[in-house]
Symmetry: C2
Subunit: 203 residues, 2 copies
DNA sequence: GTCTATATAGGGATAGAC
DNA sequence: GTCTATCCCTATATAGAC
């Protein structure tokens, strides 16, 4: 890539990412993206034709960080218990890097569910089918309690994602400062694998 | 209350509730609320002075369904294990009745965290302090594993709330129809208390 | 209390100079 | 490529008749 050529485009995307993720589609003003990027409104339309086009780019890149990367981990060949550890460790790290993604995705998706179906099919065929099968195998082998595998998967996602989506509320209810919250999440990396495995393990 | 007097006001509130919860503050048009209520735009301003005022009313009533009612259950005098059961059973029922509240609250709160602090202090002093103490007591009595009580509380909230916030995504990833999702949630009422208690119980 | 009509502002998008 | 100026539609809000 030529160095200066795409500089503005990247600057715009970074700015747009920041604004869209903190304000949502309808809360975002093109002016604010321009200010954040240190350029003019007109330039936004020069690079991307419309607000919609910029949004699409941001949404796509965000979504890729929200689910597919993680589903891949779940579909790896690691043994079960090891995989639970890897999952929480990697997912929490990812969420620490992009803490606003859960809210952003869930909000936008809830308001355009029609688009999601085709969008999903277009960009990711990855389903957590291998992981769901793996859970079944563990059950059949008598190593974990018989449960609906989907309930387990959704629970794992919930335990990892929810604290980031509900952060401001949790901070108030539990009287946590920013630092408190940070160490709460760090603690959670250790807490969650144990929490889940203790629940699953046959006694 | 006089019968006809407040009819329009109620109609407006019901319509506003529906529109705000499905579209969010910035996605909501006064025109759509008016249409939904079967009245004129101007009438909205006659009853409530501005969009902000209507929103405030809706947000307040929604928030009351999202947290305080549940924190109350947690601060009751029930014994521990019974309380875990009551919590999930009542909370899931509440969320079935108001499935859009989690997304709505979390989205709006994330974008106006400044307001939340004073808002929360004004309307609810209820903190889950009794429940957190109760967890500690169970630990001290040797009935459950020693853990950070806050991690447990947040996990319980996550397990209950997340599926509603992430519903459209889950439906696609797990290939669930509306009916599938409904029964998934019904199943979850039984699944969650066991899931949590198995994890906590000392072995 | 409820309507129609209108004022006013805000924000996405374009024209055109440089 | 980047800017200033401006168009134009949309949305909140108000005025005023009934």
């Amino acid at each position: 890539m030529a160095p200066a050529e795409h500089q503005s485009e990247d600057t715009i995307l970074k700015a747009a990412h920041k604004v869209f993720l903190s304000r949502g589609y309808h809360g975002t003003r093109m002016q604010e993206i321009a200010d954040e990027a240190g350029i003019n409104k007109a330039l936004l339309h020069y690079y991307f034709r419309s607000k919609d086009k910029i949004f699409e780019a941001i949404f796509l890149s965000s979504f890729k960080n929200f689910l597919p990367q993680i589903l891949e981990i779940l579909d790896s060949d690691e043994p079960f218990e090891k995989k639970i550890n890897t999952f929480f460790s990697k997912y929490l790290d990812l969420l620490i890097k992009h803490p606003h993604i859960p809210n952003f995705i869930m909000h936008e998706v809830a308001h355009n569910p029609e688009h999601l179906q085709s969008f999903f099919k277009k960009h990711f065929e990855s389903k957590p089918s291998k992981f769901l099968r793996q859970i079944k195998e563990e059950m059949d082998a008598g190593r974990i309690e018989k449960q609906d595998p989907k309930q387990i998967l959704v629970s794992m996602l919930a335990l990892a994602i929810f604290p980031f989506a509900a952060k401001p509320i949790l901070q108030i209810v539990l009287e946590m400062s920013e630092d408190d919250f940070k160490s709460f999440i760090q603690e959670r990396k250790k807490f969650l694998p144990e929490f889940v495995m203790r629940s699953l393990r046959k006694i």
